[in-house]
């Protein structure tokens, strides 16, 4: 379970950044990336965080994963506060982005073991979990080959394995399919679905409406750091005034 209450994040701006951002920020010392948002992600459900580039999706997810500290508001992950109990929060989550985020000079086995060790998994549990994941993802044939020499598909499988090796109850996906080909994107979407089937809490950010339609139960649309839609996907569909999801998304962003 993720509970977000009145979350706000400001980034301080230097002179150069103020100049680059233009007239609007000429006299502003900070940039509000996330502005007073509240939402809840429930176990067994997929929460889609939708928004164009620069809307505040990654900042929100990074705050959930305790990489960034909120300026105000609070985040609770499985009952632990993201600021006062950051380590406990990180123990609960699996974090995945569009980049495979792997160490080229390690093998998939070493990569997965590294993450397991950081999560304090004991040897037996790790071995069982690793074997299970490597069976499911069909990774045994390249388990001891250096990651640099693997194909994109093999790397993606390794990335999936390292994200879920510690069997986290909460999954955070930050634009996980961005830049990936159709086959690899499908593997990720399958992973997201399977997480829901296992009863995990899933938050998933994207700017592709099609993906939201495929897997999400609840959605929030974020633009310039603010939510201007936060409800179930079914409700969104009911309220649609445009012929397609994409048109509706663009229309709503334009209205914001």
């Amino acid at each position: 379970m993720i509970q977000v209450q009145n979350l706000t994040k400001d980034f301080s701006l230097n002179k150069k950044q103020r100049r680059e951002l233009g007239e609007e920020y000429k006299n502003s010392k900070t940039l509000r990336a996330v502005d007073d948002i509240s939402f809840e992600c429930r176990p067994g459900k997929i929460f889609g965080l939708l928004g164009p580039n620069g809307a505040g999706k990654t900042t929100t997810l990074r705050m959930i994963a305790t990489m960034l500290k909120p300026t105000s508001g609070s985040i609770s992950v499985s009952g632990s506060d993201s600021v006062s109990d950051g380590q406990k929060v990180r123990e609960q989550i699996g974090f995945m982005t569009g980049q495979t985020a792997l160490y080229d000079r390690l093998t998939p086995t070493e990569m997965v073991k590294y993450i397991a060790d950081l999560h304090g998994m004991d040897k037996t549990t790790f071995q069982k979990r690793k074997n299970k994941l490597f069976d499911v993802l069909d990774m045994h044939s390249f388990a001891d080959r250096r990651i640099a020499r693997l194909s994109t598909g093999m790397k993606q499988k390794t990335s999936i394995a390292r994200t879920i090796i510690h069997d986290p109850p909460v999954m955070v996906f930050d634009e996980p399919t961005s830049g990936l080909d159709v086959m690899t994107s499908r593997a990720i979407m399958d992973l997201i679905r399977s997480c829901r089937e296992e009863g995990k809490t899933v938050i998933f950010s994207t700017h592709r409406m099609g993906e939201v339609n495929q897997v999400c139960d609840d959605i929030a649309i974020i633009y310039k750091g603010r939510f201007f839609y936060n409800d179930t996907l079914d409700q969104f569909k009911e309220e649609m005034t445009q012929p397609t999801f994409e048109d509706e998304f663009i229309y709503r962003v334009g209205e914001a």
Binding site: F11, S12, R62, A65, T66, M67, L68, K69, G86, Q87, R90, E91, I93, F95, T97, Q99, T100, A101, L102, Y103, D104, R105, L106, E110, Y114, I115, D117, L118, H119, G120, R146, R162, V172
Partner: protein, 396 residues
């Protein structure tokens, strides 16, 4: 203990990086002896070549000093020329068709006969290697001059004491170790410092900026490891790389010294006396905090950089900052005192000189440790801050 997990992984990772291995093992262990040997071999062969070279000499006014002319003609490896006109001397010497032109005045004989001074003007090219041409000509003239002086003294019934009023006898109380320490002692820590820095450079860039570039930083930041664990794990590996490279550089020097052709045995004895485990151990206690200082500094700068390339451009000028005080420390006359013992890198260089020479002042030594540990502590504190600072860690 998560920092140990991180350190273990980083050791595996960098040990498989070709660039790091080249910088850490190949350069200090193989390149130093090869370079040291080659440079000394070339220097020696150049000096030999210059001293064995046939000197082309023309004596202008040889008719006024036939005995001097004969002295040159009798010398080995001297060819006497007599065809070059006076107005072409300069261009002939410039083009190395002639090495030396000796001008004897017409009153040479008269001056010598009346116990006076004969004027001799010598033209040569002072850019030849090691000034050997000048030394050889000087040697011949000195020998001939001594002969004339000796004849004069016999003629005048004078003893050598008449022209040499002092019988000077220098007695050097400095031990061989002290002399070696003061002259060459600064170079050992210099090698440790430079190689330690070079050895830390690639791992630091890879473990900071490289992590950002690969996108793996988020993986590790979202793990249960705290920022302190991450910094500590990475810092220990960079420090290990720095220290290992410095040690291997010492090994490289040891091998290199054995390869120096015709090294005088007494010098070898001094080197072996000086480079005993106790002295090396003591110098290492200085190298450790200075290595910690620049490991933390490099890691902090590396995490600030957006990419490996940017890290390289930030770190490269630091080479000069490190090299400069290390070189200053090797200069003769630079001594460890209350002020120099506070300047990092320079103090290591100067203190090592005194340690090798066996004349280290314990008060200054304490000051050196205080300064080094202080700076290392500050650098580590700053590095942890850099990892905790959102603006740095997610700088894009």
């Amino acid at each position: 203990m998560k920092f140990l997990t991180i350190a273990k992984k980083e050791v595996i990772d960098i040990s498989r990086d070709r660039r790091t291995i080249i910088m850490m093992v190949v350069v200090p262990l193989f390149l130093i002896p090869v370079l040291l040997g080659t440079v000394l071999k070339i220097t020696k062969s150049m000096a030999k070549k210059a001293s064995e070279k046939q000197l082309k000499v023309q004596i202008y006014g040889q008719e006024y000093a036939p005995d001097l002319y004969q002295a040159f003609a009798d010398m080995d490896k001297v060819i006497i020329l007599d065809q070059i006109p006076t107005d072409s001397i300069q261009s002939y010497i410039q083009q190395e068709f002639l090495d030396v032109a000796i001008h004897v005045d017409s009153d040479y004989k008269v001056n010598i006969a009346k116990n006076g001074q004969a004027k001799i003007r010598i033209q040569f090219k002072g850019t030849d290697s090691f000034g050997i041409t000048k030394d050889r000509i000087n040697g011949i003239l000195k020998k001939f001059e001594n002969q004339i002086v000796s004849e004069r003294m016999d003629r005048l019934n004078l003893k050598p004491e008449v022209v040499r009023a002092y019988n000077i006898n220098y007695e050097d109380v400095a031990s061989r170790q002290e002399k070696f320490g003061k002259i060459a002692g600064g170079w050992f820590p210099y090698v440790f410092i430079i190689f330690g820095f070079m050895g830390a450079m690639y791992p630091a860039m890879d473990l900071g900026a490289g992590e950002k570039e690969r996108g793996t930083l988020e993986t590790i930041l979202s793990s249960p490891a705290s920022r302190l664990d991450i910094v500590l794990g990475k810092f220990l590996v960079v420090l290990l790389a720095a220290f290992l490279t410095a040690f291997l550089a010492l090994g490289g020097i040891a091998v290199g010294i054995q390869r120096i052709p015709d090294i005088p045995p007494e010098v070898l004895i001094v080197i072996n006396e000086v480079l005993n485990p106790k002295t090396i151990g003591l110098i290492m206690t200085l190298v450790l905090p200075v290595a910690a200082f620049f490991s933390a500094l490099l890691l902090g700068l590396s995490i600030y950089a957006r990419s490996f390339k940017e890290a390289q451009s930030i770190v490269a000028p630091l080479n000069i900052v490190i090299i400069f005080p290390a070189v200053i420390g090797t200069l003769p006359g630079m001594e460890l005192n209350a002020i120099t013992s506070l300047i990092p890198v320079l103090n290591v260089s100067l203190a090592s000189k005194d340690i090798i020479a066996g004349v280290i002042n314990p008060l200054y030594m304490a000051e050196v440790y205080m300064s080094l540990f202080g700076f290392a502590g500050l650098a580590i504190f700053w590095c942890v801050k850099m990892f905790n600072w959102e603006k740095t860690i997610f700088r894009s």
